[in-house]
């Protein structure tokens, strides 16, 4: 059961990684295209900035979910690292529970937000605003999955995690 959960979490993180590579590449290409269109084509496209910024939201929030699995989010450990190892592992579960709580509230809050803004469109591209807002419930659910994995299979939080 635990290994199954861990395997799901690992596979989800791997697929998320590919999506992050795709959204980040597209984001950078939009920005390059913006400069190119302004100087080479003579007039800037109206949609590049908006698309880039939507892709930025997806890149950031999605990459943040798999960072939960790897324990890569920055934390202060100078008190934790003084604890003996068994206590530290128990505490690691408590921390994972706190992260899980955030993710669940965030997913729910995001779903409410998507619901309350349903039918609106973006300013430049006139595409439905859900393309942006759906990122919140999606990231919330994925984050919750990884946090749950870390609640059941804790990481040792001894080391600082430099970015």
């Amino acid at each position: 059961m635990l290994t199954l959960l861990d395997r799901i979490s690992r596979e989800v993180a791997r697929v998320t990684g590919w999506i992050v590579i795709a959204t980040a590449t597209l984001m950078i290409l939009c920005l390059i295209l913006q400069v190119f269109s302004r100087y080479v084509l003579g007039s800037a496209f109206s949609w590049t900035e908006e698309l880039a910024i939507i892709l930025f939201a997806w890149t950031t929030l999605l990459a943040a979910t798999s960072a939960i699995r790897d324990g890569a989010h920055v934390r202060l450990v100078f008190i934790i690292s003084a604890l003996p190892e068994p206590v530290r592992l128990v505490w690691s579960r408590v921390v994972a529970a706190a992260v899980l709580a955030f993710c669940v509230v965030f997913a729910w809050s995001g779903a409410t937000y998507v619901d309350s803004t349903f039918g609106q469109v973006t300013a430049a591209m006139r595409i439905s605003i859900e393309w942006l807002h759906v990122v919140a419930p999606v990231a919330g659910v994925l984050g919750a999955l990884h946090a749950l994995t870390r609640l059941l299979i804790p990481l040792d939080l001894k080391e600082d995690s430099p970015s």
Binding site: W18, L31, L61, R75, F78, I79, A98, Y113, D160
Partner: protein
């Protein structure tokens, strides 16, 4: 203070001290605050999404990726070779190469740990081979890291620009003179250390053909800052677009000219860069929910007045501000600190009449030094990791360099010209 303010502070500090990741300490504090102040929870997702919809922030993944590509594409190694040909014959020359290369690299990269990693990874083994003590080399690479955040482009300057709503191009300019002062100071340390320990005092000056060859190899690396900074200040593109152009440039040079980038490595490099950037940007996004709430609760102004009630003398306040920021920079992640304290710091700055650009530079440089100071500094972690020494060993060799930085910091705080001379030229 209101109940909501107390709840926010207690949950945030409680999480922070017990090892909850900073971003989730901020997020849980926001949730608790929303609950106590009886706001609907939908505000959380709304503010976090709004926090990502800031065009200037896109410069962060851009500059991180550009720096990583330049490291993997052989641009930083060629930069080191040029610096070596320029100063190898001076007493303390190889140490100076480390500082000089970091200063050049700083004009491409906007991050202190990335600068320490890119230059230290090459220079620490090289210096040890030529008779320098390893702890000194590691400390030098650590101390050169903060130059990466002072010389533009600079990720903390971008963040401060977003938090305090200041012009990012102006902030970039404010960091240049302090960055050069730190570089000159660190090179002086190299000179005296080499003279005292009699290290490499007989290296010959590079011959003209040697220098020409190094310059020829390194010309693409040297052109990178010209394109990025020239583009921003020539009004060709915004800092965000400059970051993307930097990515394109690093890719083209690394892939087609140096031929050191492999297509098969690109995915891993991209993923690593986005991990680095997301750790920062996700904090900014979540902190915008936190920031919205503390602004409504007027927490920054309350804390600022509390601090200002201690003294009304601007010189004393400035000193307290510096000591406080140094302490914060030493014990916690400096980007999170900037985002959380942004409101309080701008409020204090306004009340004692500091120029906003001066304040921004002061905050960023203080916290940049925190990158190199124990116990919590990313550059220090990287310096220790690449030299395989403990953090304590590197920290012991750091003190003359920290002293230099303190002097520069005092100049930044009390001589406004140091930060404001360049921004006032283009204002």
């Amino acid at each position: 203070m209101s109940d909501a303010s107390w709840t926010i502070l207690l949950v945030f500090l409680g999480g922070l001290l017990t090892g909850v990741p900073i971003v989730f300490s901020i997020g849980l504090a926001a949730i608790a605050g929303l609950y106590v102040a009886d706001f609907p929870f939908v505000v959380l997702a709304q503010r976090v999404i709004a926090g990502t919809q800031v065009f200037s922030l896109l410069a962060i993944p851009g500059f991180v990726l550009a720096g990583d590509l330049m490291m993997h594409g052989g641009l930083s190694r060629r930069l080191v070779k040029v610096c070596q040909a320029l100063v190898q014959h001076v007493t303390g020359g190889l140490g100076m190469v480390t500082v000089l290369s970091a200063t050049f690299f700083a004009a491409i990269s906007g991050s202190a740990p990335a600068t320490t990693a890119a230059i230290g990874g090459i220079m620490v083994p090289e210096m040890e081979q030529r008779g320098w003590r390893r702890d000194f080399s590691a400390a030098l690479a650590t101390a050169s890291g903060p130059i990466g955040q002072m010389i533009p482009p600079s990720i903390p300057m971008i963040i401060w620009g977003v938090v305090a709503e200041e012009s990012i191009s102006q902030l970039f300019l404010a960091g240049i003179i302090p960055g050069f002062l730190v570089a000159v100071g660190l090179m002086t340390v190299c000179y005296f250390t080499a003279r005292r320990q009699n290290i490499m005092t007989d290296v010959k000056r590079a011959t003209w053909p040697e220098l020409r060859s190094a310059l020829n190899q390194g010309k693409w690396s040297l052109a990178a800052p010209v394109i990025i900074l020239g583009g921003i200040y020539g009004g060709v593109f915004t800092p965000t677009e400059a970051a993307a152009i930097g990515v394109a440039y690093a890719f083209i040079v690394g892939f087609f000219i140096h031929r050191e980038l492999k297509l098969s490595d690109l995915g891993a490099i991209m993923l690593q860069s986005m991990r680095t950037s997301t750790i920062v940007c996700f904090i900014i996004a979540v902190a915008s929910a936190f920031g919205w709430l503390v602004a409504i609760e007027q927490l920054p102004d309350t804390i600022a007045s509390g601090i200002l009630s201690v003294s009304s003398n601007p010189i004393v306040i400035l000193l307290l501000l510096n000591l406080f920021l140094l302490f914060i920079g030493a014990v916690m992640d400096n980007i999170a600190a900037m985002i959380i304290l942004g409101g309080i710091l701008t409020s204090i700055g306004n009340q004692i009449g500091l120029d906003p650009t001066h304040l921004g530079a002061l905050v960023v440089i203080n916290l940049a030094m925190g990158m190199a100071t124990p116990p919590f500094g990313y550059s220090l972690f990287v310096g220790a990791a690449i030299s395989k020494l403990s953090i304590e060993e590197v920290a012991k060799a750091l003190w003359p360099m920290l002293l230099i930085m303190m002097v520069v910091l005092a100049l930044v705080a009390y001589v406004p010209w140091v930060t404001l001379a360049l921004p006032s030229l283009v204002r």
